[in-house]
Subunit: 245 residues, 2 copies
DNA sequence: GCCAGCATGGCACATCGTGCCATTCGGTCG
DNA sequence: CGACCGAATGGCACGATGTGCCATGCTGGC
């Protein structure tokens, strides 16, 4: 259906390359792919800035394209709607969360693994991450006021839940009830979302990581699906980056 | 911003009148309001049928309007997008859930009240309710395949969570932590959603009510927010039908 | 240096969603 | 019963959205 792109808009867009390691020496990216990632980030930045400044309703896709220095047609090759343009900012933390979670050591109980991953994902490791976190906070504050942005937020939330399922399945004992896994994914994901929303809405700048851990504990205390016996996480690298819907 | 309508599209559209009692003698509705409700139901039916038949992508708003016997302009006065037209089918059960929950007797623990309400909401009381449930099941099966319908499903889910908060607040002890309430609302709502999704996806026609109760128990067992001491539910009638977002 | 592949830009076009105005119909008051 | 008022509808126009198609230019491999 789509002509050019292998990973079409609408996917949980993993920036492709900066896993847990810093992005210092990544020579595996071709120059073309670098420019594409750069363009995507530039569009997201432009969109977030314009949305925060004027409100999403007063911004057109053409305006974002102009601000990002590309044509309108190219914009729609990167994102399906103007609101989707900010999705990379919202999914950045999610990717780290899933990566850390998938690499959890085998002995850790699932709830404990979730907590640690949440802490790492919400604790900025370097300067750039701290700035991204701050920009994301500003974006989160603009979301409740705009239906289009709320839609993106909902979609990211749903996509995250779907992406959590294979990761948790890989961590859990093979005979775990799939329904339990889904419920655990939904609970952990909701805890994360509510914590982040509360953190963004609150004027006091509380520690988002601790807030998230607190929410997680309340929700998942009795959902401790049995952990897999071996430390081997079946297809963890396969499970994580999937999430096309 | 909107010229004519007091309750604009995008709200959790309570069909306004058929609470727990059958719709037999409702003379409180003016004839104009009856016709409006009738038109809305007719649009929803037309949209659901067309979506199920051809797939949502192949259906235009004009097609739905023609099928429902109204003009395109009028269609957009009832719903903001073509996908939103099916929202009434999805929120019908939600309304019953909230109504029953808000009327829960004061001694019942919150989790118990939630379970009972879920059971009542998902157990059709009469012939019409059973048919609506069946039609909704068909619609739910079409949702995963279409991005626009998924968006509506997400929005209904989010709106339900927001509507749950004031109801639960009214039921809980006044000193309950608002964060706990939000988490409980999210947990209960997610349990409900996953149960319904599983029920719709599964070929075997399991009992949706029992499935939902099962999911609820797993998620909310340790979230038993203290119940309000008096049986009086503070502003239950006020809290329930709000939910504009 | 040549060539295949891919990203981009421009154009056209169907659809979407809304503001504006005229018309019609239900509900109410004299 | 007739007249008025408000609300719902329909038609029209227009900006914005999102996509197919083709030409162009640049990247990466031979």
């Amino acid at each position: 259906m789509l002509a050019h792109y292998a990973a079409p808009p609408g996917a949980l867009t993993y920036p492709a390359g900066m896993s847990a390691a810093p992005q210092s020496p990544s020579p595996r990216l071709s120059l073309t792919e670098r420019r594409k990632a750069e363009t995507e980030r530039e569009i997201a930045r432009a969109a977030a800035d314009l949305f925060s400044a004027r409100g999403a309703a007063a911004v057109t896709a053409e305006g974002i394209a102009r601000e990002a220095g590309i044509s309108l047609r190219t914009f729609y090759r990167y994102f399906r709607t103007k609101e989707e343009a900010v999705a990379p900012l919202l999914t950045g933390g999610v990717r780290r969360w899933l990566d850390v979670l998938a690499a959890a050591p085998g002995q850790l109980p699932l709830t404990e693994a979730l907590e640690r991953a949440v802490r790492q994902a919400l604790t900025p490791q370097d300067e750039a991450a701290a700035e991204a976190l701050h920009r994301t906070r500003g974006l989160l504050r603009a979301i409740p006021g705009d239906p289009g942005l709320r839609t993106v937020w909902h979609r990211v939330h749903a996509t995250t839940e779907e992406a959590l399922v294979p990761v948790l399945t890989g961590l859990a004992r093979p005979d775990a009830d799939p329904l339990d896994i889904r419920l655990l994914a939904a609970a952990a994901n909701s805890a994360m979302r509510i914590a982040v929303e509360s953190w963004a809405a609150d004027d006091a700048d509380r520690n988002p990581a601790e807030l998230a851990v607190q929410c997680l504990r309340k929700l998942t205390a009795n959902l401790d699906v049995p952990r897999a016996p071996s430390g081997r996480t079946t297809g963890a690298d396969d499970g994580a980056p999937a999430g096309t819907l």
